[in-house]
């Protein structure tokens, strides 16, 4: 059930998919960083980064429409920053009459608000690009190679594996509750707030116990296959010349955009 959410990745024969995952992780982090350090109102640089991102997405044969749709996930958070438009001092653009209050929008506020929004939107798209061109197991390998503590990466791998199982389990529990959420022809259905909360808590408790027992069974399965405390895996990734080239190119491009964007602003 979760599977389609979990898999943004679709195998495609593109040079981007083929890159070493470490290169993709590092490039993504650098690209987001370079977006974040751009000053407010650096529209040209924002535009350049967006074009570069589109180019990569095209090379990777991603559906641009899908990337754009997904990139809206963080948009609701904009609500937090929208107040800037009315609180920063600056040239007044327009005023809103809300009952007895007068809200005046300032130019500086608007620029800052839009800049925050744009930077956030670009960052989300870059993160999507990473996840859409890298398989989750490769991503985990990359983290391991990039010196994230191995224990943490292994725990993450277990978590991702069992996400699919447990989310399906929750979905079935919720469905069972829904199936019995009936009403009599007359009478008020639903029960009290506390009762409903208790049922939800029972479901969480139920799930907790089952997860705990499952972790026991998994541990047994690991022992049965010779696990003795040290987690061993095959590390399949090796940096090739083209991976280094891609990384170099990306860094040069990002620095170029920074310079160009700042001088043109």
């Amino acid at each position: 059930m979760l599977h389609n959410t979990l898999d943004h990745y679709h195998a495609r024969p593109s040079p981007i998919h083929d890159l070493d995952p470490r290169v993709k992780v590092v490039t993504t982090l650098l690209a987001i960083f370079s977006v974040l350090v751009l000053p407010d109102g650096a529209w040209v640089a924002y535009g350049l980064i967006w074009c570069a991102m589109l180019a990569v997405a095209l090379i990777a044969q991603l559906e641009i429409g899908w990337v754009l749709r997904r990139s809206l996930v963080a948009l609701p958070f904009a609500l937090v920053a929208v107040t800037l438009v009315f609180t920063l001092p600056g040239r007044t653009l327009f005023t809103l009459q809300l009952g007895s209050w007068e809200l005046s929008a300032s130019e500086a506020g608007l620029v800052r608000f839009l800049s925050i929004l744009t930077r956030s939107w670009l960052s989300v798209q870059l993160a999507i690009l990473l996840i859409a061109t890298t398989r989750i197991p490769d991503l985990l390998h990359a983290l391991r190679h990039l010196r994230v503590p191995g224990l943490l990466v292994t725990i993450l791998a277990f978590m991702i594996r069992y996400l699919a199982v447990l989310v399906d389990e929750v979905a079935r529990l919720l469905r069972a509750r829904q199936a019995r959420s009936a009403a009599a022809p007359r009478g008020r259905a639903g029960g009290s707030l506390f009762w409903r909360a208790r049922v939800a808590g029972n479901m969480a408790g139920q799930l907790f116990l089952r997860s705990l027992e499952r972790s026991d069974r998994i541990y047994n399965a690991m022992l049965a296959r010779g696990f003795r405390g040290q987690y061993v895996t095959i590390h399949p990734h090796r940096m090739r010349r083209r991976d280094w080239t891609a990384l170099g190119l990306a860094i040069v491009a990002l620095m170029g955009i920074q310079w160009l964007g700042r001088t043109l602003n």
């Binding site: 956030s120 939107w121 989300v124 979905a171 705990l212 972790s215 690991m222």
Partner: protein, 324 residues
């Protein structure tokens, strides 16, 4: 706006959001919290390994998946809103604070990395707000409540869960304020107000889940079964967070300019490249309406936290006296 649209906005936009995306925090704030978080998470990895040994891998992995899945469990409250679980206190109560922190960190990493729910450079802050703060408050439970009667334990767990949501929201708001993304005077009371409501769901579900486990597997949550030494350190950490909430939330509503001044004094304002705010004459708080309401709410929050802290300190003194 139609009622349906309002309900939708409330459900989809306001309720779920404590996951900060990239771009909303200034780099110094984001990096500062990355540093704090990395240190704490590394300690947590080490501590849980000491306590659990080789069982750590499957247990922490499956428990993190459990919290992620449990966040989907909802129950209707009223008017189309639902109660949800964040899970930090639940994890800390069931598994101990260090394991709770590790589990929550994994949940937030996966949400950010795979689902873009929360950004990458701000992930440190997100883990701090939703994982470390909440699990540390859960640690208070181990320090104090385990020796009480069942009812008291449930009430304490529920209140801590509620407080953890409020505290997480407060830290989120403060980070946003220091980053110059939103004026303190608006973001702090708004976040606190909304999450004081959301936290009710958290409190109820946490207490009910704990009650379920106490009833069905009392061996798991018995005092001696608690896997961590929930020592005095956790009590201190939890109390500090509770005190921060109690001091800052009324302050934020009653004297919002105070925080503004702190930000300026600390030099954050230049880093964030924002000029000092000119506050709205009678500033409006989204959702909550005008200031008096948010002040009242902050007062209520303060009072509740004070009550909890007083209760806990009282118990602590009582135990000291009994032990002596």
């Amino acid at each position: 706006m139609s009622a349906a649209l309002l309900t939708h906005l409330w459900k989809e936009i306001v309720v779920p959001h404590m996951h900060i995306p990239d771009g909303f925090l200034s780099l110094p704030v984001a990096l500062l919290f990355w540093v704090i978080t990395v240190v704490v998470v590394l300690v947590a990895v080490r501590k849980t390994q000491q306590q659990l040994g080789e069982r750590q891998i499957p247990l922490m992995g499956v428990m993190a998946a459990f919290i992620f899945a449990a966040q989907m469990i909802n129950f209707p409250i009223a008017g189309g809103t639902s109660g949800h679980l964040l899970g930090g206190v639940l994890a800390a109560v069931m598994l101990g604070p260090w394991a709770g922190m590790l589990v929550m960190a994994c949940v937030i990493i996966v949400q950010g990395l795979l689902f873009q729910d929360g950004g990458l450079w701000v992930m440190g802050a997100n883990i701090f707000n939703m994982g470390l703060v909440t699990a540390a408050l859960g640690g208070l439970y181990h320090g104090l409540a385990t020796r009480q009667s069942k009812g008291v334990r449930l009430v304490v767990a529920g209140m801590l869960a509620w407080l953890s949501v409020v505290a997480g929201a407060l830290f989120t708001a403060l980070q946003l304020g220091f980053s110059g993304t939103s004026p303190f005077a608006i973001v702090v009371p708004a976040m606190l107000g909304i999450h004081a409501l959301i936290g009710i769901g958290e409190g109820l579900i946490t207490a009910a889940a704990l009650a379920f486990v106490m009833q069905v597997r009392p061996d798991l949550v018995a005092v001696e079964a608690v896997r961590t030494g929930g020592g005095r350190g956790w009590v201190v950490a939890g109390l500090v967070i509770a005190l921060i909430v109690v001091v800052l939330s009324p302050l934020a509503s009653a004297d919002p300019d105070g925080l503004e001044r702190v930000a300026i004094d600390m030099g954050f304002e230049e880093i964030a490249a924002t000029p000092p705010y000119e506050l709205l004459p009678d500033y409006v708080i989204p959702i909550l309406g005008e200031t008096p309401l948010s002040t009242i709410l902050a007062g209520v929050i303060g009072a509740l936290v004070v009550a909890l802290v007083a209760f806990i300190v009282g118990r602590l003194l009582h135990q000291r006296a009994a032990a002596a």
